[in-house]
């Protein structure tokens, strides 16, 4: 009786999970199907759910006849600079919060947590005006510079993990005559490497897919990151013209691929960072 029940349960479970997987993966197949269709299929709007054509020259076309490689490069510049800024500065600030006793520290820390609740929309317009004053509109700087002042969530996350390191390590280094910045650079950073990797991944993925910022700040197409460049593929020059859906889907896949890779490879770091944040928020 029990065994029967178990078999039924397993069958139902597998069936359910397979259906969910199919529902989630079918659109992905559709994406590949469109990406590999011919221009004729695009013009006739006759896409099939499963790939029917395999026009791999679409990929060559993307790399040679469009600006996609340029967009890709711009995205890389933004993401890598943002990662460097967030990792270095957030950990530097977090070290200050984790290790020093100072008057007013608790209030400042509460302020840090409070800023996480402010929606970006409120500061978006004044920030635009500030960058306009600095003559940085239509450059990549507005996407890069704020990262070099740290991010509240990252600082919070890093503070937690630095506090888990016994203070005896710092004391030993101080006795040996190391300065605080040196302790941060040579001792703390290597010890919190996993969480730094996680923050690198978060920063990369946030900036890689970021749409609103580039949309507001950039106007010349040579400076577009991939996400924004992809969007402008659908803005055809004359109204009513059919956008090149096959090329759009190839570009969408190029946009998605780094994210899939980063998460597949960095899964364990992200997972442990999430759990760490979750358990400290309790």
């Amino acid at each position: 009786m029990i065994r029967n029940n178990n078999l039924l349960e397993r069958t139902v479970s597998y069936l359910f999970l397979i259906i969910v997987a199919v529902v989630l993966l079918m659109p992905f197949l559709y994406m590949i199907s469109i990406a590999l269709s011919s221009d004729k299929t695009v013009a006739e709007n006759a896409f099939t759910i499963l790939p029917g054509e395999f026009v791999f020259s679409n990929i060559v076309k993307i790399l040679t006849e469009t600006q996609v490689s340029r967009y890709f490069f711009n995205s890389l510049i933004i993401c890598l600079s943002a990662m460097v800024g967030q990792i270095l500065v957030s950990s530097f600030v977090a070290y200050g919060f984790a290790r020093f006793r100072a008057r007013g520290k608790n209030i400042v820390f509460m302020l840090l947590l409070a800023t996480m609740m402010i929606p970006a929309e409120v500061t978006m317009i004044p920030q635009f005006l500030i960058f306009r004053e600095l003559k940085m509109i239509d450059t990549l700087f507005p996407m890069i510079i704020p990262n070099f002042f740290g991010g509240a969530f990252n600082i919070f996350l890093l503070r937690q993990s630095i506090m888990r390191i016994p203070y005896a390590f710092d004391e030993a280094a101080i006795v040996e005559g190391a300065s605080y910045p040196r302790i941060w650079a040579n001792m703390i950073l290597p010890m919190i490497k996993p969480i730094l990797v996680a923050i690198g991944i978060f920063t990369f993925s946030w900036n890689w897919g970021w749409f609103t910022g580039p949309l507001i700040y950039l106007s010349s197409s040579t400076k577009f990151p991939l996400a924004l460049g992809l969007y402008f593929f659908t803005e055809t020059s004359n109204k009513g013209a059919i956008p090149p859906w096959n090329l759009i889907m190839v570009t969408s896949l190029i946009l998605a691929l780094p994210m899939l890779l980063v998460y597949a490879l960095g899964q364990k770091y992200v997972y442990s960072a999430n759990i760490g944040a979750g358990s400290t928020l309790k």
Partner: protein, 302 residues
Amino acid sequence: MLKVVSKVRLRENIWFWIFISPWIIGLCVFTLGPLIISIIMSFAEWDIFNPPKYIGFKNYVDLIQKDTIFIKAVKNTIFYALASNVLTMTGSLGIAYFLNKPLKGISVYRILIYLPSVIPVVAIAMLFRRVFSPNGFLNTVLGFLGIDGPVWLLNPDTVLWALAIMSLWGIGGSTILLLAGMKGIPVELYEAAQIDGANPFKTYFKITLPMLSPVIFFNMIMGLIAGLQTFGQVYIMTQGLGGPDNASMMIVLHLYNHAFKYFNMGYASGIAWILFAMIMALTLIVFKSSSMWVYYESEVKR
């Protein structure tokens, strides 16, 4: 002795401020400063080319009393936030339940189900513009079932549902969080239920759901807040129009249009502060009411 201590204290104080100085500067330039500018602007009329003019509460009064598009945007946004969150939460509760079973190949499956949620919104929106097109993926599938699908994105009655359905593709994120929560439920509770002869449904509704309520609750607030801030999806799906006939106009899209299309900086700032107030109110209401329906193990019910 006392002097030495206070000297050490002073040194620590100085180093503290040195270490946090980058963030403090950023806080002033990119957060506090803009907050002040924003609230001042919301009481002014300003097109960034001519000098600003103080107009008191006119922006707010106009928004609430005259701007029918804004009212529509608020309704649409709330509808979308609720619909997408309820769909996602219900779905991920179901999936997490099955993912929690010791089945073969389950760890691979966990990664697979998470992957769609990391794809950038622009790529997803591009795909779903095709999925929802008149003879696209969804209507083809519905056609197999004998259903004549609507023109999803051009029909005022379906466009918000289309957006909500699209948000389901990111279901993996909340599923993983709920799954982590389920793993934290003590096994003894299930053993006790088994001894008492409870069926799986009863176990699910009397143990799993109540024990999971803090996680569900947290996810729900974060999801609703994110839902109120929806912008990218709508902008891309409707090419910045919020159409048809403003049926998918959202608060942030309205804000974007006023700020960066019509250059009504003051008016747009007003929208931003109303949005801020909505988010704060939501957060407060849910936090205050949480004790009524969230179960914490350490809490003693009175």
